[in-house]
């Protein structure tokens, strides 16, 4: 009997052990499931955005920007980034296959250039193959799943940008056509309507507001849909006085025409030969 009791105790101990093992297993399975769930959240990296955001893009476009959620690996971008025509045929020789991939230092933004040879009039690539896009036709830019981040995680879904090509744009940017809503009171915003989609980096980088002493006014820039305008909100309220909007002539639209002239221009037609010219528009805040 004693023996049996011992056995029973042992059995009890065994059952308890078994129970605790099962519990540990259940817990760890739960934990690992939680891990998996957590990981799948982390691994859900993907394309965050593609610029230009417009669904209508001139046929002589020179550049797309792809923003990712995470720092990405360089080296084989064209295994994952492709263009398709309206018949779903993959297009060849469209991108400029640079030896250097154009990533930002944080590896979260990739600049894709379209083969400039096909965009420029008079070069062989343009004459032989024409432009990559034809007005009124539909195209798809696809960043396919599996694009690897530096962390080793990969994009989990295809990102598809559908756009329609519009006729070529070979006009330099004319600042006098911009519609500007100047601020009048301390809390007003400054609004600029560019009247066409512009390069989103240019809009954020090549326009500055300065006060009468030339000091830059800090503030935030909000881009309007399709990058056709911006809204500037100063960090501190405006104070009475003179201000200037400075526009660098390297400011580009989405086909790389800038303020000096069109990307592809006739000899002698540039407004200035100096790439670094600055235009200035003055405005006045009348009250505090």
């Amino acid at each position: 009997m004693k023996v049996d009791l011992i056995k029973l105790k042992n059995l009890k101990g065994f059952i308890e052990k078994l129970f605790s093992i099962v519990l540990i297993i259940i817990l760890s399975v739960n934990l690992s499931l939680a891990d998996v769930k957590h990981n799948s959240n982390i691994s859900g990296i993907n394309v965050a955005n593609v610029y230009p955001t417009s669904e209508k893009i001139p046929e002589n476009i020179l550049r797309f920007y792809i923003y990712f959620d995470a720092p990405m690996r360089e080296g084989n971008i064209f295994d994952f980034i492709k263009l398709f025509d309206e018949h779903n045929n993959e297009m060849s020789h469209v991108f400029f296959d640079s030896v250097h991939e154009l990533w930002t230092p944080d590896h979260k933004r990739l600049t894709l250039l379209l083969d400039p040879g096909r965009v420029k009039s008079g070069l062989q690539a343009n004459s032989a193959m024409g432009r990559a896009f034809t007005a009124n036709k539909k195209y798809k830019l696809i960043v396919s799943e599996g694009f690897e981040a530096i962390s080793g995680l990969k994009t989990t879904a295809d990102y598809v940008k559908v756009f329609t090509a519009t006729s070529e744009d070979r006009e330099g940017i004319n600042i006098s056509r911009w519609q500007i809503e100047f601020p009048k009171h301390d809390l007003d915003k400054l609004k600029i309507d560019f009247k066409e989609p512009v390069d989103h980096v240019s809009a954020q980088h090549f326009i500055l507001i300065v006060d009468h002493s030339g000091k830059e006014i800090e503030g935030s820039i909000d881009l309007q849909p399709n990058e056709t305008g911006l809204v500037f909100e100063p960090t501190l309220p405006w104070v009475k006085g003179q201000y200037r909007i400075l526009i660098n002539h390297r400011f580009e639209d989405i086909v790389a025409n800038n303020i000096n002239g069109a990307f592809d221009h006739k000899v002698g037609s540039l407004m200035s030969l100096n790439e670094g010219e600055v235009s200035s528009i003055e405005f006045h805040i009348p009250t505090e």
């Binding site: 030896v99 096909r118 500055l208 400075l246 390297r250």
Partner: protein, 413 residues
């Protein structure tokens, strides 16, 4: 309270110390040597060009050819990483020791890191110390002209250095912006002096019926002398070859380069080198060699460039053919990097199409192929060169190539 003040003091001291020290590259993108052994490193991440002093000690292997297979695996092993985590950005050859210097970017612990490593003919790999080696630096802001004091401080628009060339005390620097289509060519005197950089904007002239010109970033460049005058020859992103007289490159100038050739569209030129070649009659002639990403390398005699340069430039569509200066394709493909090694050799980093491995190998100048890449009837067992002497020259060349490519035991007496 006292404690927090001392921490503040410590932090500010550390900050000042860090500030006072010269920086080191955050990325290594483009390399170039001058004849005094200064290694220039262009760092696109911090928009800076560094000039490092290097050892001029002689290398016993300096005169030999390179025959290193699987160099990618060896470099990866040296850096304790996987091959897929290694990217070779550029290669330059030390003018005296003839060691190959590699600009590397590698992934470790979820981050890209820069490195310079050297390799000699025996395959010995050494780290080049970017911290301790004496160096100077020049910050190349991605802006032009003094009026632009406001611009260039945000990382929205950054410049990817595409090539640098050292010529008579100046560095000629080309770059590709990731946010604008600028065509600025920069010239920086060395030794570096603050604010000494000149900038010129270069347009490319296409002499077609519309007389068009365009902004375009230079992909690779070299400086050559044509009929006693110096020219910068630039290969553009869609392979037109453009000549720019060097004496026109002055700060603030706007230059229109002449398109003298189109060497194949849908192609990215990788490197330009110029050297003296020799024909079968042992006459010397200067050539420009262009290595390409999407087609075989091309050799162009400078005399042909000089001739095209005297003409008005390309003015009509040449069908699907190449146009302008005649370039001779040579059987060098898969070339990732190319350098002028010595009087007899070109050094190439190439990808072997059969096994995908990366190799560091020398090609003999004028021949532009490697005997060991091919299997010909000369290699068949029992093949005997004709005894009548008609193949003596072939035999001599093949024996020379066998020795050079590391197969001295296969030399036929």
């Amino acid at each position: 309270m006292k404690h927090s003040i001392s921490i503040k003091v410590l932090i500010s001291t550390l900050f000042l110390t860090q500030f006072a020290l010269a920086s080191e590259p955050k990325s290594t993108n483009v390399l170039e040597f001058n004849d005094k052994g200064i290694l220039f490193i262009a760092d696109s991440t911090s928009s800076t060009i560094y000039g490092y002093e290097t050892s001029m000690d002689s290398n016993k292997q300096a005169i030999g050819g390179y025959n290193l297979k699987g160099i990618d695996s060896k470099l990866a092993k040296h850096l304790q990483i996987k091959v897929r985590d290694l990217a070779i950005k550029d290669m330059a050859l030390h003018p005296i020791t003839k060691e190959a210097y590699f600009a590397i970017s590698y992934v470790k612990k979820g981050q890209y890191h820069p490195a310079i490593v050297t390799v000699n003919q025996l395959g010995k790999i050494k780290n080049f110390d970017l911290k301790k080696t004496k160096h100077t630096e020049y910050l190349v802001s991605n802006t032009t002209k003094s009026k632009e004091k406001y611009w260039g401080k945000t990382p929205l628009s950054s410049l990817m250095f595409t090539d640098i060339d050292f010529h008579k005390g100046n560095l000629y620097v080309s770059g590709l912006s990731n946010a604008e289509f600028s065509s600025t060519l920069r010239v920086i005197p060395f030794p570096f002096v603050d604010k000494a950089m000149s900038e010129v904007s270069v347009e490319v002239f296409h002499a077609n019926h519309n007389q068009m010109e365009t902004r375009a970033p230079i992909r690779t460049l070299d400086i050559v002398e044509l009929d006693g005058k110096e020219y910068l020859i630039a290969a553009y992103t869609c392979t037109p070859l453009v000549s720019i007289p060097l004496d026109q490159i002055k700060n603030g100038a706007h230059i229109v380069g002449k398109t003298i050739a189109e060497l194949g569209y849908g192609n990215t030129p990788i490197d330009f080198i110029s050297f003296t070649a020799q024909d079968w009659n042992k006459n010397n002639y200067d050539v420009l060699m262009l290595s390409n990403k999407n087609q075989s390398a091309q050799v162009i005699p400078l005399s042909a460039i000089s001739q095209s340069n005297k003409e008005k430039g390309l003015d009509s569509f040449a069908g699907f053919q190449l146009a302008g200066t005649k370039a001779t394709p040579v059987p060098m493909t898969g070339i990732m990097q190319l350098a002028d090694q010595d009087n007899y050799h070109l050094l190439a980093l190439r990808r072997n199409a059969d096994n995908g491995e990366v190799e560091l190998v020398s090609y003999m100048k004028n021949l532009y192929f490697r005997l060991s890449d091919f299997e010909s009837e000369y290699d068949h067992p029992g093949y005997a060169y004709s005894s009548d002497g008609s193949q003596e020259m072939i035999k001599g060349i093949q024996n020379m190539m066998k020795k050079d490519e590391g197969f001295a035991d296969e030399v036929v007496k």
